[in-house]
Amino acid sequence: MYGTIRVPFQGTNYVDGILYIDFFPMPSDKTSDSKDRAPHAGQTSFEQHTSKIRHFFSIPAPVKVLFDKVPVLTYPPNDLPQRAPKPARIPSLYVFIKKEDAAAGRPSYNPSCLKWQTFLNFADINHRLMPSNNHASPSGALPFLLPASKNPQEAPMPIASNKLVKYVEEQGKTVKESSSMRYEAYQSLIDHRIRDAWLYTLYLEPLNFSAVAYHLYVSPTSSNPLVRASISHQLRSAAEAELLKHTAIIDTDDIYSEADKAFEALSILLGEDSWFFGTTEPTLFDASIFAYTQLLLDDELGWQEKKLCRALRRRANLVQHRERLLVRYFGGS
């Protein structure tokens, strides 16, 4: 029973944040008690009702005694723990990443984190990377950005990934957007076809799961085998549920052949251009495709089942597109 207790009844004095309750001697309370319990025959039901309520709210004698003996104190709020992040002068982007990679500004290993990390690099917004996980995020999903704090007293509000474009605009930076009529359609190729294939190949291909996903998402979280088993089960069933949302069954061949066609279409769309839709500077669309191509072509991840990687490698211009972005925005491999 900590915290403030504000009970509005007579005989209460607040003195310097300490609550005193005047002590009523027992006998007087006892008499009122007996009066409440034996209602007169003439009382209406309404009176009975209110007296019942009054009885319910009256302070029982022992509690009064307790309050008299132990004044309730309200303590000031605790300081944040020592390890809590200090307000920084540059914005921090919370992503899935290894510690040493975060310091070096290397790409994250999660596609949606990498997309926004790349986008911030396009916008030339100086930021630091913080290794994190979904539990840290206010929205339940990474990435999110903690803006630079101008005032040390005031903690800045975190910005979820869907507000990042607006944030970049507010910072006076611009990342040009293509207004092509094909934009939405090709974006849906990345968001659905390639994403589905990614989910399947990373989580549901057993070889890849134990070789890649396990080391990225499971083993850093805990060393307990039970916890690890439970987390891997959760990850796999979440991926499965996501895929089953759109189809009755998970059809492996269909997923891979659709992803292959998607890479084919994107390769035709890119053609000989440096960036998609013939823009002079890379756009958010380039960031979204790079998020997948970078990870599929990264040999350090150690893919075992390389069907999806092979489908991508066959499209030379997509591979070059990834190299270009890697060199220009992540300082080489």
Partner: protein
């Protein structure tokens, strides 16, 4: 061998209620010569081994899913019955990209309009299943389709369209004011709540516009979506989705209204295509009773090669009914789905062993948990009486006993009070009546006995 295309039955004057089935019909209608295929309104996904419709049957071979059907038809005819061949590169890429777009963004719109929206679902969509499915199945199919639709559209944050989920009782708070004295409150928000579609109008309009606009743009003035001359698989898919958006007359027609108002071109294209490909409106009787032979539908039958479905009589329907019930039981249904997936995705023996051990553990765990829950529930409901221990009836002194833990904590102070009282007694040993309070602190609480001497 004649190919059999099994689909969900006709609705709204269209040959099927499902966009993928419509796409498959359109594809076969355009690609496969007459007489080489039959159309069967089975309306029962359990018939096909992959548990989805449309399904193509060729003798013993079942092909599920419309994309697989396209591939199979091409393969079966050695590349003769294909629609997408010979597109230039850019058109081929557009075809792939827009197919993905039509499917990924069209499905939520159809879900919202036909299934999630309570009014449309109860007054139009659910009754339709009565006409296309044999007796007990309409009790199971529409709710499960609706549940999937809700799941798919959950991320859009438009669940307010479904007024069933809101607890009607929770909204009316219990008040002590008698019924007769209350004023009926017609607030703005209550009026909006009664008609959630108008509440969400702006968002729904935006969703629909975002969907139709790219399609309108890519089509431009061409007769087909990507090509000037050639009917492609994208046209089949778009026809399936657009016709289900435009044609149904619903109590909440936000989708068709937006389409007619802002995209008259697309509407005209959709209506033309329905006439060309499906041969105008289709009646449920055409599909289900092709042998009934009344004169009006003779022309219809000639257009689409309908064959009467044979669902195995009462036994067949009963087994389907039982299997769909099994699918909807939480744990059993999950296991059944898992088996289905493993059967289809060709995994190696090794993985099979690995995953089956996992499923074994999961199954045992869930059975134990289920038993525990059941027993707990029985106890809670009083189906199994608890062995009644001697619960002492504590009528004697209700003062401190009733406070449980707090009472125990208070005993400390009570003892102190006791000591004070004793000191007092010692001080004024011979006085008027003295209140003697004896306090005993025991494990079961505190007992206070008041004796007035």
């Amino acid at each position: 061998m004649v190919l059999e295309l099994h689909i969900w039955g006709p609705a709204f004057g269209l040959p099927s209620i499902d966009p993928h089935c419509l796409a498959a019909i359109a594809y076969l209608q355009q690609a496969v010569p007459r007489g080489k295929w039959q159309l069967i309104a089975t309306s029962d996904p359990a018939l096909s081994p992959t548990n989805e419709l449309p399904a193509l049957r060729n003798g013993d071979i079942w092909i599920g899913g419309f994309r697989n059907i396209f591939h199979y038809v091409a393969q079966f005819s050695s590349g003769e019955w294909v629609l997408d061949a010979g597109h230039p590169d850019q058109q081929g890429a557009d075809c792939i990209a827009f197919s993905s777009f039509v499917e990924a963004h069209g499905q939520p719109l159809i879900d919202l309009s036909l299934y999630v929206s309570s009014q449309n679902y109860t007054s139009t969509t659910r009754p339709l299943y009565n006409t296309i499915q044999p007796f007990p199945l309409p009790y199971l199919t529409p709710p499960s389709v609706r549940a999937t639709a809700k799941q798919r559209t959950a991320h859009l944050g438009l669940s307010s369209l479904d007024v069933d989920t809101e607890d009607a009782d929770a909204a009316q708070e219990k008040s002590i004011i008698p019924e007769s004295l209350r004023k009926s409150k017609n607030t703005v928000s209550s009026l909006l709540a009664a008609n959630p579609e108008s509440n969400a109008q702006i968002r729904l309009d935006a969703l629909a516009t975002n969907y139709f606009e790219p399609l309108q743009k890519i089509k431009g003035k061409k007769p087909y979506l990507v090509s000037d001359s050639q009917f492609s698989s994208l046209d089949c898919l778009a026809l399936g989705y657009l016709s289900l958006m435009l044609i149904p007359s619903l109590p909440q027609p936000w989708l068709s209204k937006t389409m007619r108002k802002k995209f008259p071109d697309l509407c005209a294209w959709t209506e033309d295509m329905i006439d060309d490909v499906f041969g105008g409106p289709v009646k449920a009787e055409d599909a289900l009773l092709p042998n009934g032979g009344d004169s009006t539908s003779a022309e219809q039958k000639a257009y689409l090669p309908w064959t009467a479905p044979n669902n195995g009589g009462a036994v067949g329907v009963g087994s389907v009914f039982l299997s769909s019930i099994a699918d909807s039981i939480p744990i059993v249904g999950q296991l059944r789905r898992n088996t289905r997936m493993r059967l289809h995705g060709g995994k190696t023996l090794d993985d099979e062993l690995h995953s089956s051990s996992w499923h074994g553990i999961a199954a045992i765990g869930s059975i134990v948990a289920g038993l525990g829950l059941a027993v707990g529930y029985m106890f809670q409901q009083g189906l199994i009486p608890l062995p009644l221990g001697e619960e002492p009836v504590k009528e004697r002194n209700a003062s401190l006993d009733t406070f449980g833990d707090a009472g125990a904590a208070l005993s400390v102070f009570a003892i102190q009070l006791d000591a004070e009282a004793q000191r007092q007694r010692m001080g004024e040993s011979h006085g008027a009546p003295v209140a003697e309070v004896a306090v005993e602190a025991g494990p079961g609480g505190v007992t206070v006995t008041d004796n007035v001497a």
